[in-house]
C-alpha cells in the first residue's frame, strides 16, 4: 500500500512528473513530507496542497468496517474461526482452539513438548473439515532440525487410526506438509517474505515456525551493543509479515 505509485492515486500527469523530478514517486514519499515542503515541491497553494494530501491519503488508507460487520462475517463461518487442538480443556481456555487469522506463540523450557505439539497440529490441519481440521497444506519452517517424519506418521496412525487406515492416506497427508529447513535469520526472513505465493498455490492452511528463538539467539549476542536493535528489527519485520499473512488468508500461524 505504501509503495503505491502516485500515478495510481489519481493525481494529474504533470503533477506526477513534477514530483518525480524531486524523487517523489510513491505515496510513502508524499506523505512523509511536511506541508511547507509539499508546497515548495508542487508549487501549489496551501489549500490545494491539503486537498492533494487528502486525495493521496484516500488512496492509501484502509477500509472502514464496523465491529458488527466483523462479527457477522465470523458468525457466518464459525468452523473456520478456530483450529481445534482436540485437547478439550485447552480448547475451552482458548475459546475454541488455535485462532485463525492471528499469531499464536508457544513457549516453554526445553523438553516440554513444543515440537510435539507442532507436529500434532500439522496433522490436525490436514484432516478434512468434518473431523475438525482445515483440509489444507501445512508450511513447516524448521530451524532446529527437530522435525521427524517418522514421528509424524506415528502420531497420525495412533491418534486417528480409523482415518489413516491405509498407507495411501498417510502419504497424502505427508505430501501436504511442506518442510523448509532454515538455519540463519536471513534465510528465515527471506522464506517468510516468499510465503505469500506459496500459500495461494499450495492452498496452505497452517504455518508453523519452530522455533523463532533458537535462530535469533544463535546469531545475535545481546551483550554486543548494536545487536539489540538489529535483532528487534529482524523480529519486528518477521512478525509484521506473518501477521499480514495470517490476517489476509485467515490461517493460524
Amino acid at each position: 500500500m505504501a509503495a503505491k505509485k502516485l500515478r495510481r492515486a489519481k493525481l494529474s500527469q504533470e503533477l506526477c512528473e513534477r514530483l518525480s523530478r524531486h524523487q517523489i514517486t510513491t505515496c510513502q514519499d508524499f506523505l512523509c513530507l511536511s506541508l511547507l515542503e509539499l508546497m515548495k515541491v508542487t508549487g501549489q497553494s496551501y489549500y490545494n496542497v491539503q486537498k492533494l494530501l487528502r486525495k493521496v491519503s484516500r488512496a492509501c488508507a484502509p477500509k472502514m468496517q464496523t465491529a458488527y460487520e466483523m462479527k457477522l462475517r465470523k458468525s457466518v463461518n464459525p468452523s473456520s474461526a478456530f483450529l481445534s487442538t482436540t485437547l478439550h480443556s485447552l480448547d475451552k481456555v482458548l475459546h475454541g482452539g488455535v485462532p485463525c487469522g492471528s499469531l499464536t506463540e508457544i513457549t516453554s523450557p526445553p523438553g516440554c513438548g513444543k515440537t510435539q505439539f507442532c507436529i500434532m497440529v500439522s496433522v490436525l490441519a490436514t484432516l478434512p473439515v468434518s473431523m475438525g481440521g482445515l483440509d489444507g497444506a501445512v508450511i513447516y519452517i524448521d530451524t532446529e532440525s527437530a522435525f521427524s517424519a517418522e514421528r509424524l506418521i506415528e502420531i497420525a496412525g495412533n491418534r486417528f487410526p480409523t482415518y489413516f487406515d491405509s498407507d495411501e492416506k498417510l502419504f497424502c497427508m505427508t505430501r501436504s506438509i511442506h518442510l523448509y529447513r532454515e538455519l540463519t535469520c536471513g534465510s528465515v526472513l527471506k522464506r517468510i517474505m516468499s510465503l505469500e505465493e506459496e500459500i495461494i498455490s499450495k492452498k496452505v492452511k497452517l504455518i508453523v515456525i519452530d522455533s523463532v528463538a533458537s535462530v535469533v539467539r544463535k546469531e545475535f549476542d545481546t551483550k554486543l551493543q548494536g545487536n539489540l536493535a538489529e535483532r528487534s528489527n529482524f523480529l519486528a519485520r518477521g512478525a509484521s509479515v506473518l501477521k499480514y499473512l495470517a490476517e489476509e488468508f485467515s490461517i493460524p500461524v
Binding site: M1, Y46, C60, A61, A67, Y68, S232, N233
Partner: protein
C-alpha cells in the same frame, strides 16, 4: 488587511513574483483587482482570480479572529472554560478506582496515553472504552460512537461481544432498580447490535496507512458527528522497526500528535493511544520506560502506565494536569475491566441532580 504578502498561503512561485513586482500588503492586492494583477505580473486572469480569492479568505479569517468571533477563535476566559469542563462528560472505565484517579474517567478533548508491557491489558481497556463511550446519558455515559484504529491486529470481536453484553446487562440492572422512564427508553436502543455497529474499525498495516488515516479523520468525523472516542491501538508498533532515519520518525510522530490534538479539540472527543514499553539500560540496572523516546512523552496530556506486581495488575497515573500521581489495582474478568473488589452496583453510574452525566468528585481515600 495590512498583512504582508510574503505570509499569504499562495504558491511559492506566485508569491515570489508578487514580492518582486513590489506588492507589500494584502490590501494592495485586493485593490488592484484580477485584471490589473494579471497584467502586472504576467499570469492568466483565472490564476489571478484564484489568488485573490485565497487572499480574501485569509483576510476574512483574520478579521473574524480579531473581532472575537465564536467558532474560529481560540480565545475565551477561564470562567467559560470552567463551565465547559464541568458540563463535559467522562468516559467511564467500569473500574471505579481507575475512574477515581483519572478524576471521573477518560476526559474528552484530551489525549490519554496507556503504556504497558505486552499482555497487561491495554487492548482490553481500549475495547472496554469503545463500548463504554456508547452508554446513554441517563446512565452516566456520553452516548457517543467510537473509532478504533488498530495497528497490531489484536482486536477480537468475540471479546468485544463479551464486554458489550456485560455492559448492557449492567445497565438493565440499573434500569430495573430505578424504573425511570428515560432509562427504559434508552435501553431500547442500547443493544449488542447497536453497540457493535457504532464501533468503526480501521486496520492499518504500516505507518503510511496510519498517517493517511489520520489525515482523512477530520472528513470522516464530519460525516459521523456522534463520534466521541478515537482509539489508536499500538501507535508504537509501526514506528519501531524499519526506521533508519530517527529525525523523520520524530517529525512524523510530532505531526501525528498535533493533528490528533486538533481533532480532539475541534470535535470534542477523547483520543486514547496505547504505547509499548522499551528497556532503558542504565549503569547498573535496566528499567522499563515507554517507547518512542522522550519527545513523544510531551504528546499526551494524561499518561497511564500499566504494570505487573507479582500476579496483580497495577495502573499508575504518571502524568496528568489535574490529578495527583497514584497507583491502583485492577482486574480483567470475563466481563471486561473491573475493580479488584466488585463495587456497589448503583453508586458508580448515577450522578447528582445538577448534571446526570458527571460523577461527583470524591476525596482521595488514601
Amino acid at each position: 488587511m495590512q498583512r504582508d504578502v510574503g505570509s499569504l498561503p499562495l504558491a511559492p512561485a506566485l508569491r515570489a513574483r508578487l514580492v518582486a513586482a513590489g506588492f507589500q500588503t494584502a490590501q494592495e492586492l485586493l485593490e488592484t483587482g484580477p485584471c490589473g494583477l494579471s497584467k502586472e505580473i504576467g499570469i492568466s486572469k483565472e490564476e489571478a482570480l484564484e489568488a485573490l480569492q485565497v487572499v480574501r479568505q485569509e483576510c476574512h479569517g483574520d478579521a473574524a479572529r480579531t473581532a472575537g468571533g465564536s467558532g474560529a477563535t481560540r480565545k475565551c476566559t477561564a470562567l467559560e472554560l470552567l463551565e465547559e469542563e464541568q458540563a463535559q462528560g467522562f468516559i467511564i472505565t467500569f473500574c471505579s478506582a481507575l475512574d477515581n484517579i483519572l478524576g471521573g474517567g477518560v476526559q474528552l478533548t484530551k489525549i490519554t496515553e496507556i503504556c504497558g508491557a505486552p499482555g497487561v491489558g491495554k487492548t482490553q481497556l481500549c475495547m472496554q472504552l469503545a463500548v463504554d463511550v456508547q452508554i446513554p446519558e441517563c446512565f452516566g455515559g456520553v452516548a457517543g460512537e467510537a473509532v478504533f484504529i488498530d495497528t497490531e491486529g489484536s482486536f477480537m470481536v468475540e471479546r468485544v461481544v463479551d464486554i458489550a453484553t456485560a455492559c448492557v446487562q449492567h445497565c438493565q440492572l440499573i434500569a430495573e432498580a430505578h424504573q425511570e422512564e428515560d432509562h427504559l427508553k434508552a435501553l431500547e436502543t442500547f443493544s449488542l447490535e447497536s453497540i457493535l455497529s457504532h464501533i468503526y474499525y480501521f486496520r492499518c498495516r504500516d505507518y503510511i496507512e496510519l498517517l493517511a488515516q489520520v489525515y482523512l479523520l477530520p472528513d470522516f468525523l464530519s460525516e459521523h458527528s456522534k463520534v466521541r472516542l478515537v482509539v489508536v491501538d499500538g501507535i508504537a508498533f509501526p514506528f519501531r522497526h524499519d526506521f533508519e532515519d530517527l529525525s523523520l520518525r520524530t517529525r512524523l510522530l510530532n505531526g501525528l500528535a498535533q493533528q490528533l490534538i486538533i481533532i480532539a479539540n475541534d470535535h470534542k472527543l477523547a483520543v486514547v493511544l496505547t504505547n509499548q514499553m522499551t528497556t532503558r539500560i542504565g549503569q547498573s540496572q535496566s528499567t522499563l520506560v515507554p517507547a518512542l523516546g522522550e519527545s513523544w512523552g510531551h504528546a499526551a496530556t494524561v499518561r497511564l502506565i500499566f504494570h505487573w506486581d507479582n500476579s496483580q495488575r497495577l495502573a499508575t497515573l504518571y502524568k496528568s494536569p489535574s490529578q495527583k500521581e497514584s497507583t491502583i489495582q485492577y482486574h480483567i474478568t470475563s466481563h471486561g475491566f473491573r475493580d479488584v473488589q466488585p463495587p456497589a452496583v448503583t453508586q458508580n453510574i448515577e450522578g447528582t441532580e445538577m448534571n446526570p452525566r458527571k460523577r461527583p468528585r470524591r476525596e482521595e481515600e488514601k
